[in-house]
C-alpha cells in the first residue's frame, strides 16, 4: 500500500489509540474506597422499596420442581412449607403447620395447619392442598426432578411406578389436619417437610392452566407474583397483603436473571442490584470496598460481604473398584497430600474452608475432623504411600484425575495435581464436558474425579445415606460396606434425637477411615449486599430471608 506522507500520522494516531486503551485497562485496578458505614444498631426497619436480587435462570419456580438454588430462592418467597429450619437456633420451627405430633416409632406425623391462612388468590390453605401438591410432585407425568423428597412416604413407589395416582400415606383428616404415614421410621422427616418444594398448591389454580401456573405460581408465602416470569430477564414479586405470618418490610423483590455472576457483578457495581454473587477473584477487593458481615450471613451497610458456611461440600470421588484405588492406603495418601488451605485461599480467596469431613459445618451434628485423613500432612502422606506399596510413588502408574470442564474446577485440579506430584504421584487431568463426565462416573470408568454435594436438609443422613449406601445411585465411589449399610438403617429408626445424631456421627467416622471420598473444601457464601439494604440474611442453605430485611435510601 502506498501511503502519503501525512497518512503516517494516521498510523501513529492508531497506535496511540491502542496505547490509550491499554493504559485505560491497565489502571482498572480499582481503588479501594471504604464505604462510610452506618451502624445498623440504631437503625429501625423502614417500610417500602423493591429489593433487586441476582439469580440465574431457574429451571422452575413451581413447587412441583424446586430443585436448584435459583428456583428454590424464588419458590421460598412465594411458598411456605409445613416447617422451617432456623439456622440461628439450629431447630425446626413452625411455618404453615403451627404444630405437629409424631407417633411412638416416628412413622406417623400429624401436622396442624395455621388456621385462616390464604393463598395469593384468596382461597384458604387446607390440608387437602398439601395432599394435592404432594401427589402432584410424585406423579411421573409431572416429571419432577425432586419427587425423591417424598420417598419415605408410604405409597411413593406405587405412585412413581404409575400404578396408582395417590400417595396412600398422605391424608387430610380435616381442613387443618394433615396426617403423613411413612413406610419406615424416619425421625428426621420434620426437617424434610421444611423444603419449599413440599409446599401446598391450590388445585383450582393449577388445573385451570398448568403452564400459566408454572409461569406465575399462586402460593401461600409472604410474596406473590407481580406479572409472570420473564424468562432470562426477571421475575417480579410483591408483598402479599393477606399473609398469615410476619409481613415483610419491603414492597417487593425483583429477581434479575443473569447468565453468569461476572455480568451480574458488573451490574451490582453499576448500582442495579442489591444482592449478588461475587465472582471468585474479586472477593478480597470487594471485602475491602464494602466491608464484611460479622456473622457471615447478615448483610448491613458497611458490612455487606457475606462469607458464611453453606451446606455444600466439594470433594474428590475415588473409584473404590479401580484396580489401583481399591487400596485404601493409597486413597489415604492422596487425601493427606492435598493442601486444602492453599486451594481455599488462592482459588476461592478464603471463601471456602478446608474440609475435615464429608459433612460441612452447619449440619446438625457436624464434627470437626471426622475424616481423619482429611488434612494436609506431607510426611503422613508419604508414609501412607509407602504403606500402600509405592514408596515415593515408585511403581505407581500415572493416575487420571477426571473433571468436568467449564465449572471453574480447573484451578483446583491444577493444585491437586501439583500436590500429588510433590509426594511422587504423577497425575494427568482429563477434562470432559459435564455429560460425558457424568457418564464416566456412572459407568465407573474413572479413577478419581471431582463432585459436589448440596444438602437438601441440614441433617447428616442427607449426606451419608445417598453417598455411601451400597447400590445408591449417588454412590459414585461404588463404596460397599455392610456395616455402614446396617448402621444407616438403624440410625434412621433411632427415635431419640441425640442418640440418632451419635449414630450418624459414628457412621461418618467409619466412612472416613475407608476414604471412598476425599473432602476438599466446604462451601462458603461469597455474596454481597448493597449499601441501601439492612439485615438481609443469607442462610447456610442459600435462602435469603426477605421478611426481616429493609431498604433505606
Amino acid at each position: 500500500m502506498k501511503l502519503r506522507k501525512h497518512a503516517w500520522i494516521g498510523l501513529v494516531l492508531g497506535i496511540i489509540l491502542v496505547g490509550a486503551l491499554v493504559a485505560l485497562a491497565g489502571c482498572g485496578g480499582g481503588t479501594a474506597t471504604t464505604t462510610s458505614s452506618s451502624t445498623p444498631a440504631g437503625e429501625q426497619p423502614v417500610k417500602g422499596g423493591t429489593l433487586n436480587v441476582y439469580i440465574n435462570e431457574p429451571v422452575s419456580i413451581d413447587p412441583v420442581d424446586l430443585e436448584e438454588s435459583e428456583g428454590t430462592q424464588v419458590g421460598q418467597a412465594l411458598f411456605d412449607s409445613l416447617t422451617t429450619f432456623d439456622y440461628l437456633t439450629m431447630k425446626v420451627g413452625p411455618a404453615a403447620a403451627a404444630s405437629w405430633d409424631v407417633n411412638a416409632d416416628a412413622s406417623v406425623f400429624t401436622f396442624h395447619l395455621v388456621p385462616g391462612a390464604k393463598f395469593h388468590d384468596g382461597t384458604p390453605v387446607t390440608a387437602g392442598d398439601f395432599v394435592y401438591a404432594w401427589n402432584r410432585l410424585c406423579d411421573p407425568a409431572n416429571k419432577s426432578n425432586v419427587s425423591y423428597h417424598l420417598a419415605p412416604v408410604k405409597g411413593f413407589d406405587e405412585v412413581q411406578a404409575g400404578t396408582v395416582k395417590e400417595l396412600s400415606g398422605v391424608k387430610a383428616i380435616d381442613d387443618n389436619t394433615l396426617e403423613v404415614t411413612l413406610s419406615y421410621s424416619f425421625a428426621d422427616f420434620i426437617y424434610v417437610v421444611a423444603h419449599p418444594t413440599l409446599a401446598p398448591v391450590p388445585k383450582a389454580a393449577v388445573e385451570k392452566d398448568p403452564a400459566a401456573f408454572s409461569a406465575a405460581p399462586v402460593g401461600n408465602g409472604p410474596f406473590m407474583m407481580d406479572g409472570t416470569w420473564q424468562h432470562d430477564q426477571s421475575i417480579q414479586l410483591k408483598a402479599f397483603a393477606d399473609y398469615y405470618g410476619k409481613k415483610p418490610n419491603i414492597d417487593g423483590i425483583a429477581f434479575k436473571i443473569f447468565k453468569d455472576p461476572e455480568t451480574a457483578f458488573l451490574e451490582f457495581k453499576a448500582g442495579n442490584l442489591d444482592w449478588t454473587m461475587i465472582p471468585t477473584g474479586q472477593i478480597k477487593a470487594t471485602q475491602d470496598q464494602y466491608g464484611t458481615s460479622d456473622d457471615g450471613y447478615t448483610g448491613n451497610p458497611g458490612k455487606q460481604v457475606q462469607l458464611g458456611s453453606e451446606l455444600s461440600i466439594y470433594y474428590l470421588v475415588v473409584n473404590t473398584k479401580d484396580d489401583i484405588f481399591k487400596n485404601p492406603d493409597l486413597r489415604q495418601a492422596v487425601s493427606l497430600a492435598i493442601n486444602r488451605q492453599a486451594i481455599a485461599d488462592t482459588v476461592y480467596e478464603g471463601t471456602r474452608a478446608p474440609a475435615t469431613s464429608i459433612i460441612p459445618p452447619g449440619i446438625v451434628g457436624y464434627e470437626d475432623g471426622a475424616f481423619p485423613y482429611s488434612k494436609y500432612d506431607v510426611e503422613a502422606a508419604k508414609a501412607a504411600l509407602t504403606k500402600a506399596g509405592y514408596p515415593n510413588g515408585q511403581g505407581l502408574p500415572e493416575l487420571t484425575l477426571s473433571c468436568n470442564s467449564g465449572g471453574g474446577h480447573e484451578d483446583v485440579m491444577a493444585l491437586v495435581q501439583a500436590d500429588l506430584k510433590a509426594i511422587g504421584i504423577n497425575v494427568k487431568t482429563d477434562f470432559t464436558e459435564w455429560a460425558a463426565y457424568l457418564k464416566k462416573l456412572d459407568d465407573g470408568t474413572f479413577q478419581f474425579g471431582r463432585l459436589g454435594w448440596v444438602a437438601d436438609y441440614p441433617i447428616i443422613d442427607n449426606f451419608v445415606y445417598p453417598l455411601f449406601k451400597s447400590g445408591s445411585a449417588d454412590n459414585k465411589s461404588k463404596y460397599e460396606n455392610p456395616a455402614v449399610d446396617s448402621a444407616l438403617e438403624a440410625a434412621r429408626k433411632t427415635l431419640d434425637e441425640s442418640e440418632r445424631i451419635k449414630a450418624y456421627q459414628a457412621i461418618v467416622k467409619t466412612v472416613g477411615q475407608d476414604t471412598p471420598v476425599i473432602p476438599i473444601v466446604a462451601y462458603k457464601h461469597h455474596h454481597v449486599t448493597s449499601a441501601r439494604v439492612f439485615n438481609l440474611i443469607l442462610s447456610p442453605n442459600y435462602l435469603l430471608d426477605f421478611q426481616d430485611c429493609w431498604i433505606k435510601g
Binding site: 501525512h6 419427587s147 432470562d232 426477571s234 447468565k259 455480568t263
Partner: protein, 323 residues
C-alpha cells in the same frame, strides 16, 4: 423469476433434510457421550420414574428412523417437542428467545450499514489520505479483535469507568433495567456484535467503490458535468453497494445463530446462548428445534438477498441465467 424462486426453494429441501439427518445422527444414542436424560438431575441420580416418563414421551425407546419420522411429522404440525431440562415446549422457548436475538442482530446490521458504508465511502473517496489509512488500519484491527474481549473492554470503560468518572454511562447487561430506557441496552451489545462485520462492510464498500470509480460510466457521468459528489452518490454507490447488500444479508443470517459470544458477555436472553447450553446438556429437543428454525431463517434470508439483487441490478434476470 417465479420459476427461479421455486427452483431455489426446491434446492433448500435437500439442505434442510441434510441438516436434520445430521442432527439425528448426532442425537443417536452412543454418538455423543452421555445420556441426555440422566443429565436432567445434575449430580444427583435421576429417579427411574422420571427417566421412564421422558423416554416414553419422546419415544426414545423406538428406532431412530421412527423418531425422525415422528419428529418431522410433529414439525409439520408445528410441534417442536418439549425440552428435557426446562420441561417447557420448545416452541415457547424459541418464541421467547428468537426475537431478542433478531432485534439485536437488526440493530447491529443498522450500525454496520451506516458505519461500515460511511467508513468505506470515506476511505475510497479520500484514497491514500489520512482517513483512508485510519479506516484501513482500524478495520484490520476490528477484524482481528476477539469479540468477547472487545465486549469486556466496552463494559469496563462505558459501564464502570464512565460511571466512576461521573460521565454518562451505559448499561452493561441484559435487555431491561429500571434505570435506563430499553433501547440504551442495545448500544454496547450491538456495537460489539457489529464490530467485525462493520469492518468487513467498510472493506467491501471501499474496494467495490474503488472498482466502480475506475469504471467508464463514472467518467461518462463526470463528462455530463456532475459534481464529484453527484458522480459518486448517484452513479457509484448504487453499483458499489450491491455486493455490500449481499454481505449484510448473509451476515444477518450468520448473526441469527452466531451471537453466542456477545450474548454470553452481555447476558442477552437470546437464542445463541440457549442452543449452546442445550448442546452441553444434550437437550436435543431445543437443539433440533432451534437449529431447524435458524436454518430455515438463513435460507429465507439468502433467498431474499438473491431476490433483492434482481431489483438492485437490472442485469440479473434469473430466468436467463439458469442454465
Amino acid at each position: 423469476m417465479l420459476t427461479y424462486i421455486g427452483r431455489r426453494i426446491l434446492q433448500m429441501i435437500p439442505v434442510f433434510i441434510g441438516v436434520t439427518i445430521l442432527l439425528f445422527i448426532l442425537r443417536a444414542p452412543g454418538v455423543l457421550p452421555g445420556d441426555p436424560i440422566k443429565l436432567i438431575t445434575g449430580e444427583r441420580a435421576i429417579s427411574p420414574a422420571l427417566y421412564n416418563q421422558i423416554v416414553k414421551e419422546n419415544a426414545l425407546d423406538k428406532p431412530l428412523w421412527y423418531q425422525y419420522g415422528r419428529w418431522m411429522d410433529h414439525l409439520f404440525h408445528g410441534d417442536l417437542g418439549e425440552s428435557y431440562q426446562l420441561k417447557r415446549p420448545v416452541a415457547d422457548i424459541l418464541i421467547e428467545k428468537f426475537p431478542n436475538t433478531l432485534k439485536l442482530a437488526l440493530v447491529a446490521i443498522l450500525i454496520e450499514c451506516f458505519m461500515g458504508m460511511a467508513a468505506g465511502i470515506l476511505s475510497a473517496v479520500k484514497r491514500y489520505s489520512f482517513w483512508d489509512v485510519l479506516v484501513t488500519l482500524s478495520t484490520s484491527i476490528l477484524v482481528s479483535l476477539p469479540v468477547f474481549w472487545l465486549g469486556m473492554i466496552l463494559q469496563v470503560i462505558f459501564g464502570i469507568k464512565f460511571k466512576e468518572w461521573g460521565l454518562p454511562y451505559l448499561p452493561i447487561s441484559g435487555m431491561t433495567s429500571a434505570d435506563f430506557p430499553g433501547w440504551v441496552h442495545y448500544v454496547l451489545p450491538a456495537v460489539t456484535l457489529a464490530s467485525i462485520s462493520t469492518a468487513y462492510a467498510a472493506r467491501i464498500t471501499r474496494s467495490q467503490l474503488l472498482e466502480v470509480m475506475g469504471q467508464d460510466y463514472m467518467r461518462t457521468a463526470s463528462a455530463k458535468g456532475l459534481t464529484g459528489g453527484q458522480v459518486i452518490w448517484r452513479h457509484g454507490l448504487k453499483n458499489a453497494l450491491i455486493p455490500v447488500v449481499t454481505y449484510l444479508g448473509l451476515d444477518l443470517g450468520a448473526m441469527v445463530g452466531g451471537t453466542i459470544l456477545t450474548e454470553t458477555v452481555f447476558n442477552w436472553p437470546g437464542i445463541g446462548f440457549q442452543i449452546y447450553r442445550a448442546i452441553l446438556s444434550r437437550d436435543w429437543p431445543i437443539v433440533l428445534g432451534a437449529v431447524v428454525i435458524i436454518v430455515i431463517l438463513v435460507m429465507i434470508i439468502n433467498l431474499l438477498v438473491d431476490i433483492s439483487y434482481a431489483f438492485l441490478d437490472p442485469r440479473i434476470r434469473y430466468g436467463r441465467v439458469a442454465k
